[in-house]
Symmetry: C2
Subunit: 242 residues, 2 copies
């Protein structure tokens, strides 16, 4: 048990004022075993950064390799122009899992899993590194797809930007609590429940110019209609990055 | 037509360097008729703010009243302690609508609706204003519920914090495009589709201490299993705020 705790400590990101969970610290997580799965179950993150004192919060597609996070941006965007210089950012991922009612306003809540990751953002530079990032981005969501499609042209590589940062610190937060109330309030005649929320994948809409007779590829095998996106993404992540 | 365009301009948030959509400006929206529905279909937003030069990106529950946004925070949180002073923030809402494949990496994309709203965050002050915010927050998601539950105690009001900001500027961005490729690439033998993604509400999990025989309340009428959360939230929003 002591060994396990030591291992968990070793596997944790350093904690200080920046990433310590202040509100409900009992729900805070700093170990990679808690933080990685929350990140790897998501496709979209929100990135906070500052330009001239003004904060911006930008949604974008991202993925993780070890302790490094990569995200997609365009050469045209304000964020990328400036973040390449090495800009402090906070990258946040949130999964909404349930809406939780109660018999007083105060005890209403939501169940969720979230991670806030801190680091210094820099551009992915060079044709080879950018091409590798393009392929990893595709394969992370659709395992093996980079080998199925037309390779990127130099012009496309030039027009695509990726940003990366090493996770210097991170905090995870998980709330998974059913409805509960103060003891006296169970006598309040208000029907009370928890409503689970899931991101679900629907039936694929095939390209109108699909090649006749072409079978569906193995890269989309996990994207079965009715499945949870977070579970699909966890599986495709493992297939590509192990 | 000229009148309609004038009305749309009148109804638009002012545009400058801060909120102009640079990447794919054709997808940018600045009029309230485009921006409000994206906000009102969401329960969770991400808020970017800066403390001592460090950006933070925090997820939280929020709602809109006119041009004012309100969000929930705790007196204990770092954000609230400081944002009450009047802190510049960017509040972002993102709906992921589909994952879109293509026959080259460059043309892969996602369909989405997002809003970035800019303003100066301040605390909701005073017992009466805080109580009104607590009720509005509950009713925005569960119309009429504030009248069904036990009224908030002074201690609960004290322990609850809300932040508000008037939207000074905002930009919306909508992408809703099926798979497409460069003309030559349609000959690439890669099965290609778009996968719709929806946040779906599941079967309610009733409180284990539900009062026997109590019927389900009208406040949860819209939360039918299998329905889209963004559509539910749009309807509950209209029921409460018209």
């Amino acid at each position: 048990m002591a060994d396990l705790e030591a291992a968990e400590r070793t596997d944790a990101f350093p904690v200080d004022r920046r990433n310590r969970v202040k509100r409900r610290p009992d729900r805070g997580r700093y170990d990679r075993a808690s933080i990685y799965p929350i990140l790897d179950a998501a496709m979209v993150c929100h990135i906070a950064y500052v330009l001239d004192g003004q904060p911006y919060c930008t949604p974008t597609g991202f993925w993780r390799e070890g302790d490094t996070l990569y995200w997609h941006g365009s050469s045209a965007s304000r964020m990328i122009e400036r973040q390449g210089e090495g800009l402090p950012v906070c990258l946040t991922v949130t999964h909404l899992d349930a809406i939780v009612q109660a018999r007083c306003g105060f005890n209403h809540s939501i169940n969720y899993r979230s991670v806030m990751a801190y680091g210094t953002a820099r551009m992915v530079e060079g044709e080879e590194a950018k091409l590798r990032a393009m392929d990893a981005f595709m394969d992370r969501f659709f395992p093996g797809r980079s080998k199925m499609v037309r390779p990127a042209s130099r012009q496309e590589i030039k027009a695509t930007s990726f940003v990366w940062m090493d996770i210097e610190q991170a905090s995870g937060k998980i709330r998974d609590v059913p409805p509960h109330d103060d003891e006296d309030d169970y006598a309040v005649p208000a029907w009370t429940a928890m409503f689970p929320v899931r991101q679900i994948v629907g039936e694929p809409v095939e390209c109108e110019r699909q090649m006749p007779g072409l079978p569906r590829g193995s890269d989309t095998a996990e994207y079965q209609a009715g499945q949870r996106l977070d579970e699909i993404l966890t599986r495709t992540y493992r297939q590509t990055f192990g």
